[in-house]
Amino acid sequence: MGLLDKEFTDGNIVIAKAEDLMNWARLSSLWQVSFGLACCAIEMMATSASHYDFDRFGVIPRPSPRHADIIIISGTVTLKMATRIKRLYEQMPEPKYIISMGSCSNSGGPYWEHGYHVLKGIDRVIPVDVYVPGCPPRPEALLEGLIKLQEKIRKTSLVKKST
């Protein structure tokens, strides 16, 4: 049971500072599973190419899910592929995040009506952190999605919210 599993009832200066450091480290080195599905994957490749550099934000593609903390679902998720994505998501070590890129993985996209083999949105299988709209979304849109995720990580805290 590591520190990150515990829930603290009241926040104090030490926990706040430790949290900031850990959140900063987590958000500034998001390693991405190199995994693309369809047309959005080509835009993701264009984003990590020279023109819009993903590496500026510390995102490097890692081949194996064991080394990665973020998985970008880029493209249409079919039923046959959904079970594999679920396994890949499960096999990633714990502080992991998901960006659902493109309207296909957000909600089935242009295939929502007659796509008998298309899963209508990846959030039916795995919990998504950030949705990036567009078909395919421009590289700037993906970068904006990444920054949104970084803000979300910056705000996570171990102190139990007073509900």
């Binding site: 039923l79 046959k80 079970t83 009506e113 209508k120 039916r124 299988v125």
Partner: protein, 162 residues
């Protein structure tokens, strides 16, 4: 460089007892309708005959003609040397569709036939491995491209319709 009528003559001479019918009233190209269970013999002849020399199968597509309660398969053949094209059509009954497989003649037909089986349920006789190709192997809800196909409610716990 032969057109469809000359090819029809050649077929009729070679296979007197098979029935061929040329339909060329519909727009664009005419096609020859033949019997589904002998299509592999006809293809062998078309492939090996030096004047015809159809050495490449461009396209094989299944069609569901639900009004006439039949499934048909269109073959688009082409010869890269003599540069002429031919369209064959084969018609089978909708409940037990069986067509002879042409994979031994044109290896390219293998996946086309598996796709026609996957989408329409047309069984190709002596096909090397007739399995579903695009749909998941354990998809029991029938063949999707048939006109009377409905979506299953769930597949492995995931809701299929929107």
């Amino acid at each position: 460089m032969k057109n469809t009528e000359e090819i029809l003559q050649a077929l009729k001479e070679n296979f007197p007892d098979f029935s061929f019918e040329l339909k060329s009233d519909l727009p664009v190209e005419g096609f020859i309708i033949c019997n589904p269970l002998v299509i592999d013999k006809i293809s062998h002849f078309l492939h090996d005959n030096p004047e015809l020399n159809f050495d490449s199968l461009i396209n094989l597509s299944g069609v569901d003609e639900i009004k006439a309660n039949q499934l048909s398969v269109y073959y688009h053949l082409e010869s890269t040397e003599l540069k002429h094209k031919l369209v064959l059509k084969v018609v089978t009954d909708r409940n037990s569709p069986e067509v002879a497989s042409v994979t031994d003649i044109w290896k390219g037909a293998n996946w086309h036939e598996r796709e026609a089986y996957d989408m329409f349920g047309i069984k190709f006789l002596n096909h090397p491995d007739l399995r579903r190709i695009l749909m998941p192997y354990d998809w029991e809800a029938g063949h999707p491209l048939r006109k009377d196909y409905e979506n299953p409610e769930f597949y492995q716990g995931m809701k299929v319709p929107f």
